[in-house]
Amino acid sequence: MQEWRELSSPKINDDLLKFPLHTPMWFWVAAAGLGTVIGAGTISFAIMIGGGLQFLGYNNQAQWAVLITNFVFWIGISHAGVMISAILRLTQAEWRRPVTRGAEILTVFSLATAMLMPILHSGRPWRTLYWEFPFDFSRAIWPDVRSALVWDPSAIFTYLLSSVMFVYVALIPDLSVARDRSLGVMHAIYAAAAMGFQGTKRQWRLQAIAGILLSALILPVFVSVHSIVSWDFAMALVPGWHSTVFPPYFVIGAVHSGVSAVATLMAILRWIFHLEDYITDDHFDSLGRLLVVVSTTWLFFFGMDFYYGIFSRDEMEIGIWNLRIFEPPYNVLFPLFLLTAYLIPVPLWLFRNVRRSVKWMFWTSICVNVGMWMERYILIVPPLSNKQAFPFSWVTVYQPQPIEWLLVAFTFAIVSTGILVFSKIFPIIPLFDIKEGQTLRRVVQVGRRTVPGVVRD
């Protein structure tokens, strides 16, 4: 049984709209810090667009590396949003309420950021337009639908679009509250965005149905997106990329890193917005339990990938695993990855004290994402380094260059800034959802039975 405090509706409004309506000092400090990284990242971005990929550490073998690693990483992070929102919403898990919006926002921004990566990574980014959109009929330039690189942006676009809608539908009631409490330009913006939501019964009903429908519809998208991203690899002939478990392995890996990222995000939100009343230790406890299950499933799939390679006795496959595990430079990365992605955090999560400690959850979830970033790196780079049976051409000297690290930092800064700016404009914890939770928790004694104070439609 989770702890629960009764909060009044005005207090909820005050607490949760405090940040959107008032600007604390640290906001500017954070904005300046993130702005610096974004500025530096933008310059690198411009250098890349102007000068091409020559500044990267890529080589004739490692033709995909950090940027694609980072792409898969952010796609993975994006999976938490829907995982938390949709599944928990459909199963009516109570503890979801303060978590959902943050998670959804994380989805939107990490997806948008992820999509920057392939564009940056391509040799001629200004031409990527016809990669996805058939526009030049006269020269018969249209995408080749046989290519996984056409499926993957299609899936991601779909996912991005549905996530935006998902967030938006959930946001409408809160927008109406913000509208009522703001003046001037902001008032106009909130008013337009709230689309005349007044909280009538019909409006509430429609909003709830839309939410549930979107939850149900987005689930297959969520599963397919990372499956499709996995096909970028699984469809290729590169040894080490083919095992048949790739799609579920990618999906569960994404959930692992995504839920961890949500935990990190919640810890940060709780600290900076003083939301102890809303994001409680119970939430971290629940996330911790979920993570133990998800990460262990992920480890199982990881083991399957390894096992298929070994068991099939495909020598190239075995060679790639040998490179990943035993040969430099990956022999250093590999144990680090296993430790950070599983061996350190998961045993810790078995302890209730750890799960209920914001600090511990913050650091262990960060640890997981460091590990999962390395996992993608180890997944992508070594197979390309020793691709096929041409040992004369094998090259394992790929080293990410400063500009690559800067671009990685850039993506973190964009996502953080996105969330920060979003929470500056909109309540990061859904007011209505919290209130609904409050109401649902109120129970009424009717005779000898205890019934909810509010009966759902």
């Binding site: 033709q63 040799g123 001629r124 330039i141 249209w142 690189l149 290729a236 002939l237 006795r313």
Partner: protein, 270 residues
């Protein structure tokens, strides 16, 4: 290799007069690099600097791989030229999101530089690692521009390049054929690498010409397709290296390298 002649006529290919191909006789390659430099001269391939080699970004459309066998003094080194196999079932083709790669009706794997957006997916998927990305802009000192071949585009930065089987020469020969109104003879047309190769390790020809040298060579017992097991249906046929003293990985043989002829990949093997 009886099937080499019927080697792939790929999907949708309308019957055309020619189907180009090459036979590479591994027994003849001496590693001299004449083909490599000839290809660079013919195809406006940028100058490879020391830095390119250090970063492993050197651009060669045809490369000579050298494999060691054994230990001193029973040591051997063997050379094999590797270039685009112009696969009939090319793994590089369907992965390109923008149709920059197409199989020509004459059996060539054609790269359309104009279209390429530089995703390098094809580079990953080419099992022969012959697709080279041009990481840096192609630059020559002004005076060297005089040498550039006007028949071949100078590629811009950010796309994938590879052997075209000297398409410009094929086009020219076909035009010549049309003008003279008679079919060209086997050997009239040669790509730069085959033309230069001092030992004739590279032979170019038309699979559709039953009497062409490549057909006759590919019918011998030494013919094989590189990485045949992948089902890429290469348009290039290799002829095995002949080594009367070869013992594979078996043990002793008088005076010839025996041990460590090849290596086995680690962990368990069959």
């Amino acid at each position: 290799m009886a099937d080499a002649a019927q080697a792939p006529v790929q999907s949708g290919a309308v019957d055309s007069l020619h189907k180009w191909g090459m036979v590479i006789d591994v027994d003849l390659c001496t590693g001299c690099q004449a083909c490599v430099v000839a290809c660079q001269a013919e195809n406006n391939i940028p100058l490879n600097t020391a830095d390119h080699f250090v970063k492993h970004r050197a651009m060669e459309w045809i490369r000579i791989e050298r494999y060691w066998e054994g230990e001193f003094p029973n040591v051997k080194a063997r050379f094999i030229p590797v270039t685009c196999q112009h696969c009939g079932n090319a793994p590089c083709e369907p992965v390109c999101p923008v149709y920059a790669i197409q199989h020509s009706t004459e059996g060539l794997n054609v790269q359309t530089y104009n279209r390429c957006v530089g995703t390098r997916y094809c580079g990953n998927n080419c099992p022969y690692s012959v697709r080279v990305f041009n990481w840096e802009p192609h630059r020559w000192p002004e005076s060297l521009h005089a040498q550039l071949n006007p028949d071949v585009t100078v590629r811009t930065q950010g796309l994938i390049e590879k052997c075209s089987m000297c398409l410009q020469r094929i086009n020219r020969a076909k035009r010549e054929e049309a003008r003279q109104g008679r079919p060209m003879a086997d050997g009239d047309l040669q790509p730069a690498c085959a033309q230069a190769c001092p030992t004739s390790a590279i032979v170019f020809g038309d699979w559709k010409d039953r009497n062409s040298r490549i057909n006759r060579l590919a019918n011998g017992t030494r013919a094989y397709h590189m990485l045949d097991e992948l089902g890429t249906q290469p348009n290039l046929v290799y002829l095995k290296k002949v080594d009367p003293n070869y013992t594979g990985h078996g043990p002793e043989h008088a005076g010839a390298p025996a041990q460590h002829a090849t290596r086995s990949l680690p962990v368990i093997s069959g």
